[in-house]
């Protein structure tokens, strides 16, 4: 009988368990989770704070009890795996328990990174990743005691905390160490529009601000002190400066880890029988052909499915990632596709702006990066064209997509730019 262990039970872990069970009704599937609740979606925490969904809706797959029965699993609750021996495929728990398996999935996700700074643990300083983080912020905001907020980190997580503050009518300031918001995905020109639109909504912005430490004020408020000496005082401070894959427990395991656990198309690590999926791994990225850590809900689910099927003896491959970011906040949407850092001065640039859309795209021989604001409903059409182009520069642009884009108000010049020399 195939003995499978799943370490970490978020989207990736759940989808792996479901896929493995579907492929092999007899497999023994043990799940180790450091949590006592069902798998949840970290991206929903800020929507819970905002009141858009109930607490239960953060758990789209149901409770642990329901899942355990539905998929016939054995779930070890509040049981963090503390070590792994890759050679013997044995896992270790902190209480000394150890168990050996035929197949192991590492699906431990990622954690919000809070640097070990002075004042990082003061009351009112918080991060945003887990369901508890959401519960903490909701209580804080509902208490009515917060009259001002500061968010450190102008990226996908930080902007959602800003949205929560704005929705609660709390004035807030957003700061970042980079020179503009979403700096790892946005062109400077895109960010200028994003800044203007945020400021119009009353949000104060400051860039080039590297956090040094946090101080307690006499009046109870807290102050974030920057390395350049600037001080930002507020009742609550969110630190949203990045995430780190949860892979520290793999030290000495023999599993190859860069930032995340390195995997191939089948989500297999360097060691046979050991797989990884979701936010903790680095899978192939199609534009660069290198392995990258891309933390997206869709990827976590699909990678989990692939890993689960392979652990159950099937051969399945994950189609590959593209750098892709969608920020949806305050009735605004900004999408970036491709690698902004790969763009060079000599590349061709396309820019378009009207009262609905802002588009900026760059191409060398192939398309490199695209930023769009306000194009929400058409993002998938453009994304799939872009990915086709990464995979095959000669790919045909299909008539349905052309009609969709024309019908949605995209200018012909844009269609020409992305479908260069094709129609």
């Amino acid at each position: 009988m195939n003995k499978i262990a799943i370490i970490g039970f978020g989207a990736a872990g759940y989808c792996a368990a479901a896929a493995a069970r579907k492929c092999d009704p007899d497999a023994l599937i043990d799940v180790y989770t450091d949590d006592g609740r069902g798998p949840y979606n970290p991206m929903l925490a800020t929507y819970y704070v905002k009141g858009a969904i109930d607490y239960e809706a953060m758990f789209p797959f149901g409770s642990l009890d329901e899942i355990e029965e539905r998929l016939n699993l054995c779930i070890y609750r509040n049981s963090a795996v503390t070590g792994l021996d890759g050679e013997t495929k044995t896992i270790f728990l902190s209480d000394g328990t150890k168990a050996a398996y035929d197949n192991i999935l590492i699906s431990t996700g990622a954690a919000a990174f809070v640097p070990p700074i002075q004042g990082g643990d003061l009351p009112g300083v918080f991060k945003m990743r887990t369901a508890e983080d959401g519960v903490y912020l909701k209580k804080l905001l509902d208490s009515g005691k917060i009259r001002s907020g500061l968010v450190v980190g102008a990226s996908w997580v930080g902007i959602k905390v800003v949205e929560d503050l704005v929705e609660h009518g709390i004035p807030c300031t957003l700061v970042d160490g980079a020179d503009w918001a979403f700096s790892i995905a946005a062109f400077r020109q895109t960010a200028q529009r994003i800044h203007r639109d945020l400021e119009q909504k009353g949000i104060k912005l400051a860039f080039g601000q590297m956090l040094s430490h946090i101080e307690q004020e006499k009046d109870g408020r807290i102050t974030a002190v920057m390395k350049n000496g600037c001080r930002f005082t507020a009742d609550a401070i969110a630190i949203c400066i990045g995430v780190r894959p949860n892979a520290a427990f793999l030290k000495d395991s023999g599993v190859a880890v860069n930032r995340g656990v390195l995997v191939d198309e089948r989500m297999s690590t360097n060691l046979p029988g050991i797989y990884a999926a979701g936010d903790c791994c680095e899978a192939f990225e199609i534009q660069s052909g290198e392995r990258k850590n891309i933390g997206l809900w869709f990827n976590a689910r699909k990678q989990g499915e692939v890993a689960g099927a392979n652990m159950a003896g099937r051969r399945k491959a994950f189609g590959g990632n593209a750098l892709l970011n969608l920020a949806h906040y305050l009735d605004y949407d900004f999408i970036s596709i491709g690698d902004v850092a790969s763009c060079r001065d000599e590349d061709q640039v396309y820019e378009y702006e009207d009262d609905r859309y802002y588009i900026r795209a760059v191409r060398g021989e192939k398309l490199k990066c695209l930023n769009m604001i306000g194009t929400g409903e058409s993002n998938g059409v453009v994304k799939s064209l872009f990915i086709k182009c990464f995979e095959n520069n000669q790919a045909e642009m299909d008539m349905t997509s052309i009609c969709h884009l024309k019908g949605s108000g995209f200018p012909d010049s844009f269609i020409d730019f992305i479908g260069r020399d094709q129609h």
């Binding site: 929903l44 929507y47 858009a52 809900w297 969608l326 409903e377 299909d398 052309i402 129609h423």
Partner: protein, 181 residues
Amino acid sequence: MKHVFTFDPDRCCACSSCMIACTDQNDIDLKAGEKCFRKTYDTEVAFKEGGIYCAYLSTACMHCEDAPCIAACPVGCISKDSDTGFTIYDNTNCIGCKSCAMACPFGAPRYNGADGKMVKCDGCYIRVKHGMKPACVRACSFGALDCIMEEEYRNSGSDKACNVLIDQANLRKKEALRRWR
């Protein structure tokens, strides 16, 4: 009883009867800014090489077999109807995040102005379960749009299922180009 939508671009003249039927069937309030799930196109596409191609199309959700929108939705609004195989949804918990639109290669999901929640073509699955044709199919007088059982589709030897629509349109474009050259 899996069903397949078929579309024959040679028969479509973009008359939009299907859109009107869809609007009616789904009580879509166009005045309030709601959008029809189906969309027709009467679009002229100019080729670089010269010549113009007139595309007549009617598109809505393609009810993809391995529908990427399902895994993309963070709250699990979207699923497959086990009877018809159509991609259906329950938007009670929809947060309007547009992740489904980013996953959909066809631009099928729509967002309601009022609450920002996602709506889309559900294949009129309730009609189909009761032995009726989808509203848009019923309204098409030219036989361009149809919805048939998978088995019937396979036996017909047709290649006009909506999920191969894209290749269809491309083939036609190539043919058109050849004629011009």
